[in-house]
Amino acid sequence: MKKQIIFSLFATILITLLWSKYGTEPLKPELRKGKPTTQTRSLNSGRVAQIEATQFKVEAPLPQRRPAAEPALNSLSEMSRTLFAYTRPGIPLKDLVSYLQRSKQEPQVGHDRNPYTGDMAIVRVKTPLPGTRYFHAQYFADSDGTSFVQHMSFEYKPGPEAMRQAIAAVKASFPGLGAPKTAKPDFIEWALPEGRTVWIKKMAAEDLADDPYNAYGPRDIGTIRVAIESDVHGHEG
């Protein structure tokens, strides 16, 4: 009887300890092994990164910019996170516009439409964050009327460290980014889920020529463009 009481007490303490640690959830293998819940797999092998939906809440304001010595770096970081947050499926255009208004970038929206190929909305900003410029987003409408981002990009000011800084910012902003699909000194590209791609380009004179939206001069060689797009072409092999 005494042994039974001692065993019962011991079992109760053990159950209480386990309950306080894991609540009502069943024990997951990952937890037992101390692994993170987010499963990230290589995109290069054609598999898809699985990112917890709760990792980034669009409705929540983006983290405050720190008063760092280099405001351009903060802008780069913030705009990279913007690309990640507002290009995800199901995020409506108005959420992006609302964010751009909150961050005082003065967004403008153009609604280009025709009866044959439907609607395209273009979003640009009048007052970009310091060290960035020429934000540009293109939205199209799916057959059911739902909008999606076909292209979103911004530019970061040129400098000897600019490409490296942009790569670091994108890696930090896109959880689960695998190995790049293409990596060159002036260009890097990663595949994303849902047939999208994110790329960074150090712009040469050839890349700056004849842009229908942005004005460039020789002073702009070396400008960094960070873009996320529908992988409409996706050359491979």
Partner: protein, 424 residues
């Protein structure tokens, strides 16, 4: 407007026909002396509608036409529908006939899926339509999109105030010219005409300047114009004179009528350097590790060479960012097909912009190269039948394209043979 398969239920007879425009149809004009006669050397012109308003929407069934004229095109029992080009009426004037503006109608035979002819009718010839029956969508069970309606509005800009059109900007002044100043704002560098295309320069740290001109204070911004003969194309102008084109009265070009029938041709001026029906260049080639299909044929050529219109048509969407630093342009061609000319450079081809018509073989852009440098510069050629509406890029299928996407391989082969005498 979407040209849907229309099914007309006329009493006990069910007639289905496709109102799709067709390029190779003869054009007739209605004359007061000889009825419908073949038009000679017809050219697009401005339409004149007076009195014909009642016949601009829906389908006209010509029940029986009481006419003693020896018409070359029998109209009794035919169906007519006004031709529209991007929501605009189409009209022609023809040599040899009265130099009138003839409003164009497509002529359909019962149970025929394509128009058999086009008929030009002048506004004064309303008598032609005696004993016709008009079918609206409601009273004749015609499944038809109204000819002049725009596509159903999407949820694209829900909750957002938007400017009509793209955000391209122009110089918008009441005077015919505007002074462009140097950085000090004291010296005038050059002048530009009203409605000039202009791009605002965004510097890394935004700066604008203020100056009092004629006792009025202006904010000046740095802008850039397209290349000018003198070399200088950048300077400072008052911000209040720079506005989005659609907000500038008089700056929006009047849409032109869709050109009439024309031949088709290969979209590059030289043969592609590789077979566009094999490898990764072919239509339906695997993409994304097998998760997607290629929606076009890739025509490998040389960067900056011309991409030309396959036939006459109208630019319905000017250049937009397409893929890795290249652009795309959308053209609706006569016959209703829509072509996306992709992976072109940003360089503007003369006379090519949204709403402008293009001729067969006209340069509409220049072959581009993607940032990754993965492959030879190319024209990414995507073609649609035009029987669906909405964005060309869509989800829901492995092409990630609109459902009326066509495999252009056979047509390209045909045009290649015609243009170069051989084909892959």
């Amino acid at each position: 407007m979407q040209r849907l398969l229309k099914c007309v239920l006329l009493g006990f007879m069910s007639v289905c026909f496709n109102m799709k425009l067709h390029a190779e149809v003869p054009v007739y004009v209605w004359t007061d002396t000889a009825g419908a006669q073949l038009g000679q050397n017809c050219q697009p012109t401005q339409p004149l509608v007076n009195g014909l308003e009642a016949y601009l929407e829906g389908v006209i069934e010509v029940v029986h036409l009481e006419s003693h004229l020896p018409s070359a095109l029998p109209l009794s029992g035919k169906f007519l529908q006004v031709v529209d080009a991007n929501g605009q009426l189409s009209a022609v004037s023809c040599a040899g006939n009265d130099p009138k503006s003839y409003l164009l109608f497509d002529v359909f035979s019962p149970e025929q899926l394509t128009p058999v002819a086009r008929l030009g009718v002048h506004a004064s010839q309303i008598e032609l339509f005696r004993q016709v029956r008009l079918h609206s969508a409601e009273d004749a069970e015609v499944q038809i999109a109204a000819p002049f309606s725009v596509a159903p509005s999407s949820r694209l800009i829900e909750g957002v105030t938007a400017i009509d059109g793209s955000l391209n900007q122009v110089i918008c002044t009441t005077s015919s010219q505007l002074n462009v100043r140097d950085e000090s704002l004291n010296k005038i560098l050059f002048t530009v005409p009203r409605f000039s295309d202009v791009k605002v320069v965004q510097s890394w740290d935004q700066q604008d300047k203020k100056k009092v001109v004629n006792s009025k204070s202006y904010t000046f911004i740095r802008v850039q114009f397209s290349a000018r003969p003198t070399g200088k194309n950048e300077g400072w102008v008052a911000e209040s004179y720079v506005t989005v084109r659609s907000n500038c009265p008089g700056a929006v070009a009047t849409p032109q009528p869709l050109p009439i029938a024309s031949t088709w041709q290969f979209p590059t001026n030289k043969r592609p350097s590789s077979n566009y029906k094999t490898g990764m260049r072919r239509f339906q080639a695997s993409r994304g590790g097998g998760s997607r299909y290629h929606a076009a044929c890739d025509l490998y050529r040389v960067k900056d060479e011309a991409a030309v219109a396959v036939t006459a048509g109208e630019v319905i969407r000017d250049k937009y960012y397409f893929y890795q630093g290249t652009y795309a342009l959308e053209v609706r061609h006569t016959g209703g097909r829509v072509v996306r000319y992709g992976e072109i450079t940003g360089k503007k081809a003369t006379g090519v912009s949204a709403g402008r018509s293009v001729k067969a073989g006209q340069t509409i852009g220049y072959i581009g190269k993607v940032n990754s440098g993965c492959c030879t510069p190319m024209l990414h050629f995507e073609m649609y039948s035009g029987t669906a509406t909405g964005s060309l890029t869509q989800s829901g299928n492995k092409f990630q394209r609109r459902k009326d996407l066509l495999d252009p391989s056979a047509d390209l082969t045909h045009w290649e043979k015609l243009k170069f005498g051989q084909a892959y």
